[in-house]
Amino acid sequence: MSDLILEKQPKSPISEAYRTIRTNIDFSSIDKEIRTILVTSSGPGEGKTTTAANIALTYAQAGKKTLLIDCDLRKPRIHKVFKISNRIGFTNMMADDMKLSEAAFLFNDTLQVLTAGTIPPNPSEMLSSNKMKTFLQAAAMVYDRIIIDSPPINVVTDAQILGAATDGVILVVSSEITNIEGAIRAKELLLKVKANILGVVLRRLKSGSGKYGYSSYYYYYAEDGEKKRRKKKNDRRPQSHSSRD
């Protein structure tokens, strides 16, 4: 579970950055509570799954009843991050009328993980079905937060469909991986379906290039954090930028 930094090192600066993302999401909307959140990116390999899993964990750790769904029905990976079975999951629930309680994995008291399940021949149709809409509405009644992982938006249409059906979208960009045109195109695609872009999560930023050098200071504030000060090598540190349009 190397990607689940919030499980392994809850006091690390990276975990703190995820908690900041949580706070930023919660404060980004005053009138309407953001319950369903989509995580996507412009291309593959930019850190969607890791971001989605850790954001789900921050909500769960804050005592919110959270459901994490792997809607990347083309290259699902959530099950690998949590090291759990993917024999049954989201698609089985949609296609075989299975109950959510049967298909989801109870990670802890507050977090349930719904893996992708058997890869279907028609992911987009499944995600745009009425059944999917009904499911999301019903789930929003039961869970405080629903975090959805998705395929890259510039590659397939799935994330656009989901973006239109959720309360908010987080766009993940990776330093030195995401290209600028790709990120702009991703934003356009989301705005086209009137998705509510909550903000952008920047990942893999080389330390030193940012102006917030708090990574080495954080331990100073942590109550019982590790004694040893770690060198600034947290190049995977995500930062949250509120960029509401």
Binding site: H79, K80, K83, I84, S85, N86, R87
Partner: protein, 253 residues
């Protein structure tokens, strides 16, 4: 030495035909310095459906033969499982079990084409607590053509068993070359004989282990020790394993 892959049990699969063949195979094995054999009859859905319990029964018959002949070889139960979508359920039902009742499963894949869901099947077995050993990967056409395909299996923490016959060249030049490349990269945890009879595919292992030491220094020791971990169901160290990268030099193959 321990042979981790053998079709020595008589009349149960395409291996030994009868007790006489088994007896001569046992003799060859003992003369070659093998003192334990993990018997691994095929389990192929619809063709050879030998459950773990079937293997135990057959193994008892051969044990009495060993006593009669006064041989000094111990047999250990196992199965060679053809990986398909039924494998996980069969494992959970106890029809398939790990070697010596432990968690190591000797699994084979199709020779000609890598199944699309191979990695998913292996992942699910790992989640279910099994540890997958890939049987004779050097013989699969897709690995022979492009060994980089094996990197997914390395990342999924599979183990690899190479046939002694592949090293000596009985499966052809290409297979021999692939076996050599794998050993050079440390992608070899076991050498098994995959013996099917007493002549063309006989249970000899010694030369292959000696030969592999020429390819990668220090591997002989590992190859001799690993099967003991297997029998005790202990964790096997794979620290010398490298991801396979294609050499850019044509003459360096």
């Amino acid at each position: 030495m321990i042979d981790v892959h053998s079709h020595i049990l008589p009349g149960i699969d395409d291996g030994s035909k009868n007790l006489d063949v088994t007896a001569s195979m046992l003799k060859i094995a003992q003369d070659d310095g093998i003192d334990k054999i993990i018997v691994t009859p095929h389990y192929v859905t619809g063709i050879f459906e030998n459950s773990y319990d079937d293997v135990l029964k057959s193994l008892n018959n051969v044990n009495s033969l060993i006593q009669d002949k006064g041989l000094n070889i111990k047999l250990v139960p196992g199965q060679e499982i053809f990986l398909d979508r039924y494998t996980l359920d069969l494992y959970k039902d106890g029809i398939l079990r790990g070697i010596n009742g432990g968690s190591y499963l000797l699994c084979e894949l199709p020779m000609d084409k890598l199944p699309e869901d191979a990695m998913d099947m292996i992942y699910e077995l790992h989640v279910a607590g099994a540890r997958v050993i890939i049987a004779h990967p050097e013989r699969y056409m897709y690995f022979v053509n492009d060994l980089t395909l094996i990197n997914d299996f390395i990342k999924e923490e599979c183990y690899f068993q190479i046939n002694s016959g592949s090293i000596s060249g009985i499966f052809g030049h290409e297979v021999k070359k692939t076996a050599k490349l794998m050993i050079k990269n440390g992608i070899c945890d076991f050498i098994g004989t995959d013996a099917h009879n007493a002549d063309t595919r006989s249970p000899k292992i010694k030369n292959a282990i000696e030969k592999s030491e020429d390819y990668l220094k220090g591997i002989k020791d590992t190859l001799i020790k690993n099967p003991y971990f297997l029998l005790n169901n202990e964790e096997i160290n794979v620290k010398c394993r490298k991801l396979y990268k294609k050499s850019r030099l044509i003459f360096n193959k």
